[in-house]
């Protein structure tokens, strides 16, 4: 379960102060499928990074399954990112010059999982890239890279999948495929939080949270 309590994120550039998140409180229950929407620069990625334990709030607390993440050691945070969370970046963040399958294997390497090759191959098959396993990121299209990033996020079977515009580079068919995958994972009991600009994508969600200027302006359940 995710609980944000009065979380703010302030960026200081020179004497300019920018409140990317402004006093946001949000609670996401286990097994939910949430879409986060809002205009560019409204703070969606900022919030997602905090949820993914990649960044820390300037103020406020983040409770993950009842534990205050702010008080955890660097190693505990690494373990949480490794086992509990599957993160899909807006800009993919695949290792360059490294094949798709090795990229997908990477989280399992740090988890010490066995039979990585087989599991990575299955994850790639699920995103429809079984035949691209040996391609390096620069040999893949933007949409294919994005799907490799999705495969990497789901390969460890984390309880939470956080995806920053996972369909931003995909055509309609691929978008539907990836969204069906997220729905499938959600039906298997996983929490899915995804950022999107597209209303069609938000259609798949059970709940839609809208941000504007770092604040939640609407929160609808469907």
């Amino acid at each position: 379960m995710i609980e944000l309590e009065r979380v703010s994120k302030v960026y200081k550039t020179g004497d300019l102060e920018l409140r990317a998140l402004d006093d946001v409180s949000l609670r996401i229950d286990d097994g939910d499928l949430v879409a986060i929407m809002g205009p560019s620069g409204s703070g969606k990625s900022t919030m997602m990074n905090i949820l993914g334990c990649l960044d820390v709030p300037s103020s406020g607390t983040y409770l993950l399954d009842g534990i205050d993440v702010g008080g955890l050691s660097d190693n505990r945070l690494a373990d949480i990112r490794n086992t509990k969370i599957g993160f899909v970046f807006q800009s993919f963040n695949l290792l360059p010059r490294t094949s798709a399958i090795r990229n997908v294997e990477l989280p399992m390497v740090y988890a010490g999982t066995r039979n990585r090759r087989g599991r990575a191959q299955r994850a790639l098959t699920r995103v429809g890239l079984a035949d691209r396993a040996d391609h390096k990121p620069n040999e893949l299209s933007g949409g294919q890279q994005q799907r490799v990033a999705v495969a990497r996020a789901l390969v460890t079977e984390p309880t939470m999948i956080l995806a920053d515009e996972p369909t931003g580079n995909l055509d309609t068919t691929s978008t539907v495929d990836v969204m069906n995958l997220f729905v499938e994972l959600n039906e298997a009991g996983r929490t899915v939080v995804l950022i999107t600009h597209e209303p069609e994508v938000a259609e798949f969600a059970k709940r839609v949270v809208t941000l504007r200027d770092g604040r939640i302006v609407s929160d609808e359940r469907r």
């Binding site: 990074n49 993914g52 990649l54 960044d55 820390v56 660097d74 190693n75 690494a78 373990d79 990112r81 490794n82 086992t83 993160f87 970046f89 963040n93 695949l94 290792l95 360059p96 010059r97 490294t98 090795r102 990477l106 989280p107 390497v109 740090y110 988890a111 010490g112 990497r152």
Partner: protein, 402 residues
């Protein structure tokens, strides 16, 4: 996360960017090779100086003091006493010579008057001379008083028109005895008007003189032992000649002390020079290694961010980068050693052909160990520090790093 796993990640990292790995290694190779080659050149120079001064620097001349009333000659018995290693442990060799002059005469006409030196088989070493052609007489020919002679360049010039090859094997009459010419000395500018023959032959056929020795050249066991050798020789001869007051001494013992001082001074300059060259090239090499490691690791902050975001612990990242640094500096270091030795050996073959007498570089084990050790250390530090710093960053900051 096992060490083995880290090593596999590291090797994959090295292989996935071959150009970067090669460039990093190149920095190390050049650094290590430079240290080895420069030190080898310095060593060669040092050895050259030592060789040039060494043979003369441990020599001591003993001769009779002329003019003293009742002065005793140096004799074969004196020589035997000096050769007693029990009483003179600092003395390595003792070479007596007798001198005079005589007429050389060829059967086909032509004659020339020159200095006669009667000596033993180690004359070339003791006098630091070389032959142009032929060979020198050996111990057996000394003992048997063989009638053989080695001519200096002046008699050869006069009797054979300077043709050393023509002189070799010819017979020459000296006094009333016929000698066979078995060798010709190279010029040394000082004792070129000479004919050298076995000590006993000079005495028996030309100079007479019983057991009298003209002068004795003594060599100390080492340059450092010269003062002791002088003291031991003086003590022995004092005793044999019945000298109580040094004022009454009828012989002089002279070490080539000035040469000795000069050589040790030059040697110490060369030693300091070699150390300075090694130090500077080591610093330059280290900066190269540190520089390339710093640049590549900083450039890879984003990669570290990705690994952290996916759940890598700090330790795992540090291990990966340290192993990468170790493999690069290790392989680069070994190649650098081989290259450094190769260049030194090649220079030792090629340079003396281009520049006569150029001192051949000589690789020192110390420089190899030092260069490899320091580059490994610098590689680990320069690879480890920035990797550690990047691994401490929040994943998001590392990911945003440009």
């Amino acid at each position: 996360m096992t060490l083995w796993e880290s090593a596999r990640i590291a090797m994959r990292g090295l292989r996935s960017n071959k150009l970067r790995s090669a460039l990093t290694m190149l920095g190390i190779i050049i650094g290590v090779a430079a240290v080895i080659v420069l030190v080898a050149f310095g060593n060669g120079l040092q050895r050259f100086v030592a060789d040039a001064f060494g043979p003369l620097a441990n020599q001591i001349q003993i001769s009779k003091d002329q003019g003293g009333v009742g002065a005793k000659d140096l004799t074969d018995a004196d020589v035997r006493a000096l050769r007693d290693t029990g009483r003179a442990p600092a003395i390595a060799t003792v070479s007596p010579t007798v001198g005079g002059s005589a007429q050389l005469q060829l059967a086909g006409g032509g004659s020339y008057r020159t200095g006669i030196t009667g000596t033993e088989a180690d004359y070339l070493d003791v006098a630091n001379r070389e032959l142009v052609v032929g060979s020198f007489f050996d111990d057996q020919q000394v003992t048997s008083k063989a009638k053989v002679v080695v001519l200096g360049p002046n008699p050869v010039a006069s009797l054979f028109g300077g043709q050393a090859g023509a002189a070799l094997g010819q017979d020459v009459r000296i006094g009333r005895t016929t000698f066979r010419i078995i060798g010709v000395l190279a010029a040394n500018g000082q004792q070129d008007d000479v004919a050298v023959m076995p000590l006993g032959a000079a005495r028996s056929y030309l100079l007479g003189g019983g057991d009298v020795v003209g002068s004795v050249t003594v060599r100390a066991v080492s340059t450092d032992a010269v003062p002791q050798a002088v003291e031991q020789a003086t003590t022995i001869l004092d005793q044999r000649h019945g000298i109580r007051d040094p004022e009454d001494r009828d012989f002089t013992v002279t070490a080539l002390q000035s040469l000795l001082d000069q050589s040790s001074q030059v040697l110490s300059f060369v030693t300091i020079f070699v150390a300075a060259v090694a130090g500077i090239s080591l610093i330059v090499g280290s900066i190269g290694v540190a520089n390339i490691m710093l640049v590549t690791v900083t450039e890879r902050t984003r990669e570290i961010g990705i690994r952290k975001a996916i759940g890598a612990r700090r330790r795992a990242i540090l291990q990966q980068f340290l192993i990468e640094a170790m493999v690069l500096t290790g392989i680069g270091g070994v190649i650098g050693i081989l290259l450094g030795i190769g260049i030194s050996v090649a220079a030792g073959i090629v340079l003396p052909q281009l520049v006569p007498d150029f001192p051949a570089p000589s690789v020192s084990v110390g420089s190899v160990v030092l260069a490899f050790g320091v580059s490994l250390l610098i590689g680990l530090l320069a690879g480890g520090f920035p990797a550690n710093r990047a691994a401490r960053m929040r994943p998001i900051d590392a990911l945003r790093h440009q």
